[in-house]
Each structure stands twice: as structure tokens, then as C-alpha cells.
Amino acid sequence: MKAETFDRFVREHERMVRALAYSWVRSASAADDVAQEAFLRAYRSIGSLRDLTKVKPWLYTLTRNAAMDWLRREKRHRVEELNVDVAAPAAKEGDDRVDRVARIVEELREDYRQLVLLRFVDGLSYAEIAEALGMSVGAVGEKLHRVRKMVVERMG
């Protein structure tokens, strides 16, 4: 892969990969590390990816693996870092409904947050999400349904 192409590839996926990494490692700097590792792995092995339409599930799997490795490594002396950089919901011109939803999503369990990211930000299909997160398509649909219902209920 040419450097420029890869650069574009990184720019295209970086934010998503970091956000996803953050959902596991819960620290901005660790998320950067994990993202970097995931891209490094991607760079090394992209040649072996046959089906280019699966690049996202593939990349997110690499991210998951990298995050799991990080967690395993850091398990012993893991410090909960306060998150300032990444997940603080941005104050958006007065739309406090968005803020409230952001807080609701923020409180969700990590697997739900990952689903929200992959579906609402990245627009992946259920099958692709299932592949990236290693769950069944049925579970993806069920969990997304629960998230929506919860937001409907909590927002009145």
C-alpha cells in the first residue's frame, strides 16, 4: 500500500478507531496507544485482507484485539484516568436534549456504547457490527432496540 493511500486510510478511520478503543480502555492516552497499535497491525497485514468490503469489521476486530492486549498487559496496575479529552460531551449550541442523550449513552455499558458508535456514527450494517464485535446479528438488533427504547423512555 502506498504511504499516501494508507495516510488517507488512517485519516478516514482514525476517529472511529480511537473512539472504539476508548470504550474499552477508558483513557484517552491509552486509546491513542491502542489505535496506533491497531493501525500498525492493519498496515502490516492489510495485504492479506482479501475481501475489501470487509475492511471495517476487519479493522475493528484488530482494534478489539489490540485493546484486549492492552487490557491484559495493564490489568495489574490499571489506573482509572479521568477522561477529559475524548468523551466530555461538547456543549452544543443550546441543544440540551442532545446533551441529555449523550449522558444517557455515556452511562451505558461498554458493549452498548460500541454498538452506538458502530451503528449511529459509522453506519455499519448489523452483520458488519456482529462481525466486528464478535456477537450474533440477533444480539446486535436486540441491544440497539433496547438503547432506542431507553432513550425514548428517559426523554419522556
Binding site: 504511504a3 469489521p57 476486530t61 442532545v98 442523550v101 451503528r119
Partner: protein, 1025 residues
């Protein structure tokens, strides 16, 4: 209405995401559900907006990943143009000069530079008109061999003539070729080296070694043509994992062609894959042995998947069998079977099961495989599964064993390779159709290609004349699997990357296996030879002109199934990928000779002398005198498998290979080589000779011509210089854009490097040849063993007039006996007697035989050492000072009745007992149990632990050493100096160093360069530089 409201509501979220279009129909007729949908849609919109805030706002300060920017590319066009103009001008002038001065007859000689004694040397001479490049038929070629005779040939319509000459039995041969045609006359003198190929079968006593052990090496050298024992010097060498030559012995081969050496390993060394090499008569043979610290397994675990290939969704059936090395099954052991699949970059568990072994030590599992595997995209539709069993016996000891299984939806594979490796358009050429199974076994198939029916041989190969560049191949095996492949050579040639082929499917020990790698792309292909999880040999094959070969002499110990795995790391357009191919071959024992080992008893007692008689007979059962090689090794050594078994290991190694920086100097320029047109390539390929040669012009010795030659040489020099400059510029570009290296710094570095290189260059060649790292070997262990040997034979003293104190078992060697050459009497009989060790195990007796006329034989059998009641310490490789552990002592009772056993634990030094030194345990007949002693490792060093078990009817005692390492960080300090009669080095030992843990090594190197290499290595390896 097809759906009720409840079903529809549950699916609303799916519908919003476009995953349940069937809900639309219900929504049309149901206002209630429509309202709910709108609420969900609003929520979705909010979630979408909210989720955006979870993305990092901007790229982080640190770039997550930044490959070098495409700066070069911006100027690429102008640079390329300039380079093209320069090159074209240069080559134009050059070509014009050469064509003008040369006479029209142009002769091209294609052939090998070296010949094999006793065979025929073949040269192909191609004659053509140098101006029009048309073949010249009817040219008379006369070959005069110095002191050998004259041979003639006439060129055919394609301008080529084949010259065949018998190769004389000499060091080298000089041949004068005279070529006469109406175009002119040429005289070419060539000298050929003459080889006498030797087949070397190299064996070692075992495949893995620990520091301080001895590697026993035996080389059997036979002439490849006559199979007579080789007479001459054989050199045996040992290289460590870093490629340093550790030892080298040269000795004449015996009358049977056998040479041997023992290499003692130091106690501190570079662990990893060491190489043993034997060379004789210009040929060498290699073996890889693992050197590392390990603990021998207590039992053998076998995992046998019913098949080596499965389809996704099938049920995998696997049998697990566990037995102790002393021959008893492991009954009632807990077994955990785990199946993992290779996902993207690691193994992930996809299924598991638990079970318990029966009285015979067996259990079996049925596990359903998932319907799909993510990794399948990455491995050409295959997934790799690791089936790993962990068996824990009643004494709490666990052993693991893993096997690999391929999961594939397409079990049968077809590959098509043009005969020259690459498709040459417009030339009729044969195609090899190769069919194999996904797990590497060759597939015997029948099928059709372009309407031509074919049947592949046992190796799964058929050669077909196919007059087309694109066609379709279909093949099916007898079992009903079928496959098809559409071939199109008009598109990019790289349909498949490379293909591995062996010349046969089954071999006999003593044969030479020829491995051919066919590929459309040149470069290195790494090859591993693996037998039962042990890598026996790692080699690389250089693929040039579409093919590369590797010859491996098969020693008798390779008998069984041999898996050959080949890998290529490709770097295309800056991206790396690994492609692989595997083959499985079977090596049978040679049938020329039969060896019958006859142990004096079926089962020996520990410490008892072992006596074995041998009889060697030929194929007709007649006794023949022969030389025997004998190794007696603990079975447990062979069951020891690498900590990262099978495929995972291979993957990790390759990954590590990828990360290693490599450099090589390519053959810089080949300007004097002829321009090769497809016709010529195909001629050369058909003649089946390597394409290495030179072009010679008519020799009139005129001055102009000589000056052109001189110019050619000068031009080559200039081009090389240009090449180096271009390389430097490229290097600067890379450094500049990756690490911001400035130009002045770069220039200083290059000039400095150049000066350093110039100073060191003379030392470089000799350093690589003779770098010998001499470690001062720790002789203490040796002395200890000798003392134990003397001590262990003394009869045990009686205790209190009761039962005599049991004899202490304490000598546990891995290799019990080794003899590279035992010569039998005229009746083919020989007898060996050697002291038995204290191990309770099965000793593997591996014998190989060779006669004076080169006939081979091999045999393997076991000698069991056993006593019906015994205890053993289950120790780790080492403990750290201060560790508090429960050390397990396993108690094995195979007596007919149970007994009460009093166990006493004693450490001769260095250990504190925390919870009493005595235990009493009741053991039932056939029971295996364990007792734990709580201890603290007080002092570091090697300590001996003694366990005495006094039973009511049978007693035993065992003593084993255990290493305790200091509790601290190793702080290495390196001092390098040149030894000029006397050298003084001062080392400051830190005040807080662990007392008594400081060790000093002195390494002597013959040249400054190897010292630098070693220093650099330390620099890279240690975290403190």
C-alpha cells in the same frame, strides 16, 4: 395483515436500520405502530447527534500512525523523466558502440558453471546474426576438452546446438569451443569446476538441548552416485542462534563414512534455534536443534482429530490419549479440550469441552464447529484451528498438546504453473496442473483442461501441453470432491504466488528429497521441515527465473510424516503480506538392512545396567557386518514440544522475521548478459539447464575492440557508483521524512560510516568466517555427575534394623548412551552394555546401520525402566529467591495392594521448610496421588532436594536439583577491549548488588569486527544500552 402489532413493535428498531423491510406492510395499516416508529426515529436522531460527541474532536496531538509522506512522489514525474533520458542515452551509445565493433556472428553459451563427475556435461550454444538478431542454422560447433577428446554439433533451425561431453574425473575441466559459420568464427574457452556430490546424513542424539548438556553429532557421508562410503575429511560445526560459530571439528570419515563430534554447551548461552552443519566434498547438510531451558514432561499427551480437514459447521471429533513414559496409562485425568481459530492476528477460542480419561487413559470429544470463521477471508478461504488438550493427572500435574486442523469450504485446490514458472506469450509451452488438498496433501485427481482429459500422479501433478493463455481446469478426486479454476495468464501473471513441489510423495531414509518452489515472482521463500511439532530444519530457497530448488538428504531418524511449510514475506508497494503453502511427505525406513535390537530383559529396574544385543541382516535375512550408530534417549525429550506449538509458532516467528530489518546486496548490474527474448528463455528452459552464462564476440584482438571492453568495464563501474549514490539519496529521503534527519547530519554520518567501513572492511570477511565465541564452561556440573555416579553405586545402609533405607534415585540424564559407530562382527552381531540411569521412563533406542557398500538400515525400539512404587518431585525450571511455594511430590503406586507411605522432605541447603518435613499418605493399588510440602527458597544457587518415601512393603527415594535465581534485576555491564598481550578491564559492581550474584564472563573474539557485532547485539538487547 401478515404481522401483529407485538411482532412489528419488536422489529421497529430493525426496520429503522433497514434490516427488517417486511415491517413496512404492517406499518401501512397501523397508525399506532407508526407513532411508535416516529418516537424511535426521533430518539435515533438524538443518539446520532450525541454519539458524534464521543468521537475525538480532532486528530490527536500524536499522529496515531504516519507512514512517510509522499514527498518523493510529487517530484517523481520529473525525476523519472530525467533518469529515463539519461539511461536511454547512455545505453543507446553503449549498444551502438558494441554493435559497430563486434562482428556479425554472435554466440551465446548457456550452461552450468560446474559439472558432476561421472555424468554428462551439457552446453547449449546459440548462434545468431548480431545485427538482425536472427538465428544462424548450420554453424559448426567443435568442443575440445583438454585431455579428453573432441565433440561436434551443428546448430539447427533455431540457431542452437547441444554439446554433450562426458565429464572427466578431475578437479576441473577446460574446454575450447570453436564456432564456425558463414558469419564468422569464434573461439571460446571455458573452465568448469567438477563436483563429486556427497550425500550427508546428519543426526543428533535429540532435538532439544539445555545449557550444560552435550550435543552428540554423527554424520554419515556417502557418495551420491555410487553410495560407497565417502573417504576424506568431514567438518562438523555448531552455530548458535545468532549465527556465531561456536565450535568446529574436522575429522576423517571412518571406513563406513562416519564422522562424529561432541559439542559441550556452556551454562550461559543464546537460547534459540542452533544449527549443526556437516560438510564434506564441497557439500554440506544442516540440522536445527533447539537450545533452551525446560522441564521434561511427565506424560505423553496425544490429540488425534479424526480428520485433518473439516468444513465449517461440521462436528469435530478428537481422541485424547495420555500415558506416562514408564508405560502406564494416565487414568482418571481431567482433560480440557480447547479449539481456537486464527482471527485476524491471534487465536480465539471457538469451542471447548471437558472430560475425564478412562482406565486406558483415553477420552474423546465431539465439538460442533461454528458456521463461519472470520479468518477465512485472510487465508484464501481457509481457517486454521488449533485443537489443544490440557490433561491434569491425579497428582495435579498438567501437560498440554496441540494439533492443527484446517477448516475449509473448498478442500480440493488446483494450481496451474507454466513450465518456465512464468507464462511466455506466443511460445508453445507446457503447463503443470497441480492438485492438492487444503492441508497440503497431494490429491490424485482426474479432470479436464481446455477439453483435454488428464489424470494427476501420486504427487498430484500432471504436465499438459495447453496452447492457450486462458482456459478452465476442472478436477475431481475419487472421494467425490471437485474443484475448478479459471486460468488467465493474459492478466497479471501473479494468479498464485508460489507453489511447493516435492519430487515424490514418499521417500526412503537415505534418499535425497528435492524440493522445488515454482513462482511467478523471484525472491526468497522460507521453508520449514517439521516432524511431530519439532522444527528440524529451516532453510530459504532463492527463487530465480521462476524456480528454486533445495535438496535435503533424509537421515533415518526422519522416518514418519514430514510436513514441509513454505512462507514468503512479500513487500509489494510497501505493504507486507505472508503467503504460504504446505506439503506432506512420508519417509519410510530403508529396507536394505534390518536391525534387530534384543534387550536382555523387557523391563529394567532403575540403576540396573542395561544390556542390548543387536543383529543386522540384509533384505534376504542373511547376517551382514555393518557399523551401527546408537542413541539411547529419554522418551520424554521427544514429547517436549515448543511452548508455542504448531502454527502459532510459525506465525509468530514470521511476524518477528518481518520486524527484523534485513539488508542484502543484490547482484548490482548484469550488463554483459545477453538480452533475453522469450524464444531464448524457452529454449533455455527446454534444455533444462540453469541460465547462467556469458556472451562472447568474435575475437580478432583488434585494438578498437579492446578499448570498447575497457569502456564497458569503466561504464559498469560508473553505473555501480550511480547506484550507490541513488541508494544514499533514497536513504536520506527516507530518514528525512520519517525522522527529520537533516542533510549535514546525514552527510557527517555517511562520511563517518564510510571511514569506519573502510577501516573494518578487511576484518569483516574473516570475522564472519571464524568468529568463535569461547565461553569458559562451567565444569562444576560435570564433576557433580561424576561424583554422583561414583556415589550412587554404593549400597544403601540399613536403618534401625527395619526396612533398609531405599536407594536414592538421583541420576536423570536425557541421553543415556551414545555411540556413533559400533562395528558388528562378521555375523552382523554386536552387544552394548551401559549403566542404567535412575529415571523411571521408557528409553528410546534409535539405531541406524550402514555397510561398507553403503546399504542402510534403521530401527527404533524402547527399553522400559520401571518399579512398582515410586515418588517424584514435580519441579519448575527455577524459583526466585524468596519464593514461598508448595512443592508437589507425586506418589505412584502400581503394587497389587495398597500401602501406607511415610514421606520425608529434605533440602540439603538453601530452603526453609515452612510446614513440617513429614507426611503420611495411604495409597490404593494403581493410585497416583500427590503430597505438597510448603517451602521457602532462602538462598540462590543450585540446591538438591531429597524426598524419601518409606512404605510398608516398598520404598523409594529421589533427589533432584533445583535452581534458585537471585531476586533482582540483572544489571549487565559490558567492557570491550583489544587484547594485546595484556588487557585490564575495570568493572564497578553496584553497592546494592545481590550478594554473591555477580558473575563475570570473558569472551574472546579473533577480530575487532565480531566484537562490534556482539557489542551491538548487547546494545540492542539490553534495555539500558
Amino acid at each position: 395483515m401478515t404481522m401483529n402489532c407485538r411482532d412489528a413493535e419488536a422489529k421497529l428498531s430493525w426496520y429503522l436500520d433497514g434490516e427488517a423491510p417486511e415491517v413496512a406492510e404492517h406499518l401501512e395499516g397501523c397508525a399506532d405502530c407508526r407513532a411508535k416508529l416516529e418516537k424511535l426515529r426521533d430518539a435515533s436522531l438524538l443518539i446520532s447527534k450525541a454519539a458524534q460527541t464521543f468521537l475525538p474532536k480532532k486528530t490527536s496531538a500524536r499522529r496515531p500512525f504516519a507512514p512517510p509522506p509522499g514527498m518523493l512522489r510529487r517530484h517523481a514525474r520529473s525525476l523519472r523523466l530525467a533518469a529515463a533520458v539519461l539511461l536511454a542515452g547512455f545505453f543507446g551509445c553503449w549498444g551502438w558502440m558494441n554493435v559497430r565493433v563486434a562482428d556479425p556472428q554472435q554466440v551465446l553459451v548457456v550452461g552450468s558453471q560446474s559439472w558432476v563427475a561421472g555424468a554428462h556435461g551439457v552446453l547449449r550454444v546459440i548462434v545468431e546474426d548480431g545485427r538482425s538478431r536472427t538465428p544462424q542454422p548450420g554453424a559448426k560447433v567443435t568442443a575440445r576438452l583438454e585431455g579428453g577428446g573432441t565433440f561436434e554439433a551443428v546448430s539447427g533451425a533455431d540457431g542452437s546446438a547441444e554439446v554433450r561431453v562426458p565429464v572427466p574425473d578431475a578437479e576441473r575441466a577446460t574446454m575450447t569451443l570453436t564456432v564456425v559459420s558463414p558469419l564468422g568464427r569464434d573461439e571460446i574457452v571455458r573452465t568448469f569446476a567438477i563436483e563429486r556430490p556427497v550425500r550427508i546424513m546428519l543426526s543428533t542424539d535429540k532435538p532439544v538441548y539445555q545449557p550444560e548438556q552435550t550435543i552428540h553429532v554423527r554424520a554419515l557421508a556417502l557418495s551420491a552416485l555410487t553410495m560407497k562410503p565417502f573417504q576424506g575429511d568431514v567438518t562438523l560445526e555448531l552455530e548458535d542462534a545468532n549465527g556465531n560459530r561456536i565450535a568446529r571439528r574436522t575429522a576423517p570419515a571412518s571406513a563406513f563414512g562416519i564422522a562424529s563430534a561432541d559439542f559441550d554447551l556452556a551454562d550461559e548461552l543464546v537460547a534459540g534455534a542452533w544449527r549443526v552443519r556437516a560438510s564434506a566434498g564441497g557439500v554440506s547438510s544442516e540440522r536445527t536443534v533447539d537450545v533452551k531451558r525446560y522441564v521434561l514432561p511427565k506424560m505423553r499427551v496425544e490429540v488425534k482429530p479424526a480428520r485433518s480437514m473439516y468444513a465449517p459447521g461440521e462436528t469435530l471429533v478428537a481422541d485424547v490419549h495420555a500415558s506416562y513414559f514408564f508405560g502406564k496409562p494416565v487414568a482418571g485425568a481431567a482433560v480440557v479440550l480447547e479449539i481456537s481459530a486464527w482471527v485476524a492476528d491471534r487465536f480465539e477460542t471457538v469451542g471447548s469441552g471437558t472430560g475425564r480419561t478412562d482406565q486406558g487413559g483415553r477420552t474423546s470429544f465431539e465439538i460442533e464447529l461454528p458456521d463461519r470463521f472470520f479468518g477465512m477471508d485472510l487465508l484464501q478461504g481457509d481457517a486454521m484451528l488449533r485443537v489443544e488438550a490440557a490433561v491434569t493427572d491425579a497428582a495435579g500435574h498438567t501437560e498440554r498438546k496441540a494439533e492443527a486442523v484446517t477448516v475449509t469450504a473448498t478442500p480440493l485446490r488446483i494450481h496451474v504453473i507454466p513450465e518456465g514458472g512464468e507464462y511466455v506469450p506466443g511460445v508453445p509451452q507446457d503447463m503443470f496442473v497441480v492438485t492438492s488438498y487444503a492441508d497440503g496433501r497431494p490429491a490424485r485427481t482426474s479432470g479436464a483442461a481446455l477439453g483435454v482429459a488428464f489424470a494427476t500422479d501420486d504427487a498430484g501433478v500432471v504436465r499438459l501441453p495447453i496452447p492457450a493463455a486462458s482456459f478452465r481446469v476442472e478436477a475431481a478426486d475419487a472421494g467425490g470432491s471437485s474443484a475448478h479454476l479459471a486460468v488467465d495468464f493474459t492478466r497479471e501473471a501473479a494468479l498464485q504466488d508460489f507453489i511447493l513441489r516435492t519430487d515424490r510423495v514418499s521417500y526412503r531414509a537415505g534418499d535425497t528429497l528435492r524440493l522445488t518452489v515454482l513462482s511467478a515472482r523471484d525472491g526468497l521463500v522460507y521453508v520449514d521441515f517439521v516432524k511431530a511439532g519439532q522444527t528440524l530444519l529451516t532453510k530459504s530457497v532463492d527463487v530465480r527465473a521462476g524456480a528454486g530448488t533445495l535438496d535435503v538428504d533424509l537421515p533415518p531418524e526422519l522416518q514418519g510424516t514430514l510436513r514441509i511449510g513454505a512462507y514468503r514475506v512479500q513487500d509489494r508497494n510497501g505493504r507486507s503480506s505472508i503467503t504460504r503453502d504446505t506439503r506432506v511427505v512420508v519417509v519410510d525406513l530403508p529396507e536394505d538392512l534390518q536391525i534387530r535390537p534384543l534387550p536382555r530383559k523387557a523391563v529394567f529396574e532403575p540403576g540396573e545396567d542395561i544390556e542390548v544385543n543387536f543383529e543386522v541382516v540384509d533384505g534376504q535375512g542373511r547376517p551382514v557386518p555393518a557399523a551401527l550408530g546408537l542413541a539411547v534417549v529419554d522418551e520424554a525429550v521427544f514429547a517436549l514440544h515448543a511452548s508455542r506449538p504448531g502454527l502459532e509458532k510459525t506465525y509468530f516467528q514470521i511476524e518477528e522475521d518481518l520486524l527484523k530489518s534485513r539488508w542484502q546486496i543484490k547482484d548490482a548490474f548484469a550488463l554483459s548478459a545477453p538480452v533475453l527474448t522469450p524464444e531464448r528463455v524457452s529454449v533455455a528452459v527446454k534444455a533444462d539447464v540453469p541460465l547462467v552464462s556469458s556472451i562472447e564476440y568474435r575475437d580478432k584482438a583488434n585494438r578498437l575492440r579492446r578499448s570498447v571492453r575497457e569502456f564497458n568495464q569503466a561504464a559498469t563501474g560508473i553505473l555501480m557508483l550511480l547506484g550507490v549514490l541513488t541508494g544514499l539519496i533514497a536513504l536520506f529521503m527516507v530518514l528525512h521524512y520519517t525522522s527529520g534527519c537533516s542533510l549535514p547530519f546525514f552527510l557527517v554520518a555517511i562520511v563517518g560510516g564510510g571511514v569506519l567501513a573502510a577501516l573494518l572492511l578487511p576484518a569483516l570477511a574473516s570475522a564472519r568466517k571464524s568468529s568463535v565465541a569461547t565461553d569458559l564452561r562451567n565444569k562444576a556440573k560435570q564433576a557433580e555427575i561424576e561424583r554422583l555416579l561414583a556415589e550412587g553405586r554404593t549400597p544403601p545402609a540399613g536403618a534401625d534394623g527395619g526396612l533398609p533405607a531405599p536407594r536414592v534415585r538421583e541420576w536423570f540424564p536425557e541421553t543415556l548412551y551414545w555411540n556413533p559407530q559400533i562395528v558388528t562382527d562378521d555375523q552382523g552381531r554386536a552387544s552394548v552394555r551401559f549403566p542404567g540411569a535412575d529415571s523411571i521412563t521408557t528409553w528410546r533406542l534409535a539405531a541406524s546401520a550402514v555397510t561398507r557398500d553403503g546399504r542402510l538400515g534403521a530401527a527404533e525400539s524402547g527399553v522400559r525402566v520401571f518399579q512398582p512404587f515410586f515418588v517424584d518431585l514435580d519441579l519448575p525450571v527455577a524459583l526466585t529467591q524468596g519464593d514461598e511455594v508448595w512443592l508437589p511430590v507425586a506418589v505412584y503406586n502400581y503394587l497389587k495392594e495398597g500401602q501406607s507411605v511415610k514421606l520425608t522432605f529434605a533440602a540439603e541447603s538453601g530452603f526453609d521448610l515452612l510446614d513440617g518435613a513429614e507426611r503420611t499418605v495411604e495409597v490404593a493399588p494403581g493410585e497416583v496421588t500427590s503430597v505438597r510440602f510448603h517451602v521457602r527458597a532462602r538462598d540462590f544457587g543450585r540446591h538438591r532436594l531429597l524426598v524419601t518415601a518409606v512404605g510398608s512393603t516398598f520404598s523409594d527415594a529421589v533427589r533432584r536439583p533445583l535452581d534458585v535465581v537471585p531476586d533482582g534485576k540483572p544489571m549487565p555491564v559490558n567492557v570491550s577491549d583489544a587484547l594485546n598481550r595484556r588487557a585490564v578491564a575495570r568493572v564497578t559492581i553496584p553497592a546494592d548488588a545481590v550478594e554473591g550474584a555477580t558473575r563475570l564472563w570473558v569472551r574472546l573474539y579473533p577480530s575487532r569486527f565480531s566484537e562490534i557485532v556482539s557489542g551491538l547485539e548487547n546494545l540492542v538487547r539490553l534495555p539500558y544500552g
